[in-house]
Symmetry: C2
Subunit: 287 residues, 2 copies
C-alpha cells in the first residue's frame, strides 16, 4: 500500500492534524483546540492511529530540533499550561508506534512553501509569520536551517517610530518586533480587534514600518531569494504593499531592489503551508 | 610535489597575498597597497606566478560568489577607483593559469576561523568584522553561506541611543550599524583617530551599544554556536566585555545566556583568519 504521512501543526490556539500522500495531497484532516497536553493529545492520537507510517510535527517553540538530542521533539520552557518540557514528539511517536520528525512552526511553513508552494525550487527562502507571535523560518536548498537551536528572529530590537510610546507586549524585550507588531500588540495599539480596523487607519502605518524593518533585516542577514509572509495579521493584505514600499525606502537602493513585489509575497497554500511542511518532514524521514 | 595554495585577501587598503600548504601553514607572504586594479595586479601576479596550484580569494564586495555565474569573481558596483565590474577572479586566474575560488572577505575570515582557528568543528559560526566597514559572514557545517547573493548585515538599521545625534557615515542609510559604528564612524564620533582614545571615554559606551544590538541580531537570526569578532576596531579589546554585557542585557534572559564569554570571541589567528580562509577556498577547490 502507498505510504501515508501524518502531519501535525501545533499552534497556540489549535492543533491541525492531516493525513497526506507523498505529493502533499490532503486525504483527511481535523482541528483540535490547544489545551493542556494531556487534554488534547488523546484526540490527536485517535485521529492518526493506524493510519500513518510516519509523523511530521511543526510546533510552537521553543522546541528541541536536534535529532541527536535525547530531548528531540520536547517543548522547552514556555508559558503554556503543561507544555514546559513536554515530550511532544516522543509521546506521539510512542502512542502511534511510528517514527517522528519535528521542526519549528515557521520552519515547517517555510518547508511547505518550498516543497509544495510558490517557492518551490528556490535556493534560500525565509518565512515570516505575524500572528500571536512573530517568527522567522529559513530553508536553504529546500532544507530547514537550525543553527545551534533555532532562530528567534521575532525578538530582534526595532527602532521605534518617534512618538510611538505604546508599551510592547513581549515580557522579555521592551522594543522587539514581536512586542510591537504581533497580533496582541496590534490589539493593544488599536484598543480593539485589529481585524475590524479599517485599512486607512494610521495605526497600520506604524505596523507596516516595524514589519518593513524586519523584512529589511531578513533581506540583509539571509540574502534570501524570497520572503514569504503569513500568519493572521498578514490576512490584512493591504499590509503587503505598505511593507514592501517602506522596505524599498529603507534599503535606499543598496540591494538593487526597485521593487520587492516578487521578493516579499503572501503564503501560497491557502493556510496549509504549516501542515504541508509538517507532512514533508514525515516524507523526508521515510525517504 | 605537494600542492601549494595561493591566498589573496583583497581589502580596501591592502592586498595580503600568501602561499600555504594544505594545513594552512604560511610558506611566504606579501602585502601590496590597494590602488587602481591595473596598478596592484602586476605585483600580485608576480608574487604567485608559477608557485601555486589554485588561488583562493576573499575580497571586499559586492562580489559575484555564484560559481555558475559568468560574472563569478567580478567585483560589483562600488566607489573604489577602477574596481566597479572588475573581473578580479578571472583576470588573476587567466594570468596565473590556475583555477580560482572566491568569497567575501567576511566569509573567508569565517572559513579561516572554522578551519584553522578556535571555531574548528562548530556547526554554525558567524564572523563580524568592525573596521572600515561592518560586515558579517556565516559558515554552516564548515561551508560559507551565501543566500541569493551574500548577506550585507552591516547595513541593518539600529535603534539610536536617545541623544546620539551624530550623522552616520553610510551614504545609503542614515542609521545602519556600519554608518554609526564602523571605524570611520568612530573617527567622526571622537573627532580623532579612535586608536588614540582612552578606554574610559564615554564614546565607547555608544559604540558598544550599537555593536551589542548587532550581536543580538546575529544571535537571534542565525542561532550560531559562536560569533567571532575581528577587524581594526575590535583591536580595542576592552570592547568585548562591554559588548557581551550589553548584549546579555538586551536578550533579557530570552536565549538562556547568562554570559556570552564563550559565544562572542575575538578572532584567534593573529590577523591571518582572512588569508587562511582564502587559502582554504583554494584547498576546497582542488580537493
Amino acid at each position: 500500500m502507498e505510504a501515508r504521512y501524518g502531519a501535525l501543526e501545533a499552534g497556540g490556539t489549535k492543533m491541525v492534524c492531516a493525513i497526506t500522500d507523498v505529493e502533499g495531497g490532503i486525504l483527511d484532516r481535523c482541528r483540535i483546540p490547544t489545551g493542556h497536553p494531556e487534554d488534547c493529545l488523546p484526540g490527536i492520537v485517535d485521529f492518526f492511529r493506524g493510519r500513518v507510517d510516519a509523523l511530521g510535527i511543526g510546533t510552537f517553540g521553543p522546541v528541541d530540533v536536534d535529532p541527536d538530542s535525547i530531548r528531540y521533539g520536547d517543548i522547552g520552557a514556555c508559558v503554556k499550561d503543561g507544555w514546559s518540557g513536554f515530550p511532544l514528539g516522543r509521546r506521539l511517536s510512542d502512542e502511534l508506534g511510528v517514527p517522528f520528525s519535528v521542526d519549528t512552526d515557521v520552519n515547517a511553513a517555510c518547508l511547505g512553501e518550498c516543497t509544495f508552494g510558490s517557492s518551490r525550487g528556490l535556493g534560500t527562502v525565509a518565512y515570516i509569520t505575524v500572528g500571536t507571535g512573530i517568527g522567522v523560518g529559513l530553508c536553504i536548498s529546500g532544507k530547514p536551517f537550525h543553527g545551534n537551536r533555532h532562530p528567534e528572529g521575532g525578538h530582534i530590537k526595532v527602532a521605534r517610530i518617534p512618538g510611538d510610546v505604546m508599551e510592547g507586549v513581549c515580557p522579555y524585550h521592551p522594543e522587539c518586533i514581536e512586542g510591537l507588531a504581533s497580533g496582541p500588540a496590534l490589539r493593544r495599539r488599536f484598543c480593539r480587534d485589529p481585524s475590524t480596523v479599517p485599512r486607512d487607519d494610521p495605526g497600520w502605518n506604524v505596523e507596516a514600518e516595524y514589519l518593513s524593518q524586519f523584512v529589511c533585516t531578513c533581506l540583509l542577514m539571509y540574502s534570501p531569494d524570497r520572503i514569504v509572509m503569513g500568519g493572521g495579521v498578514m490576512g490584512r493584505t493591504h499590509l503587503f504593499g505598505m511593507v514592501r514600499e517602506k522596505a524599498v525606502e529603507h534599503l535606499g537602493g543598496y540591494l538593487d531592489h526597485d521593487s520587492l513585489d516578487d521578493i516579499v509575497v503572501p503564503a501560497s497554500l491557502d493556510g496549509n503551508q504549516g501542515v504541508l511542511g509538517a507532512a514533508q518532514l514525515a516524507i523526508d524521514w521515510l525517504s
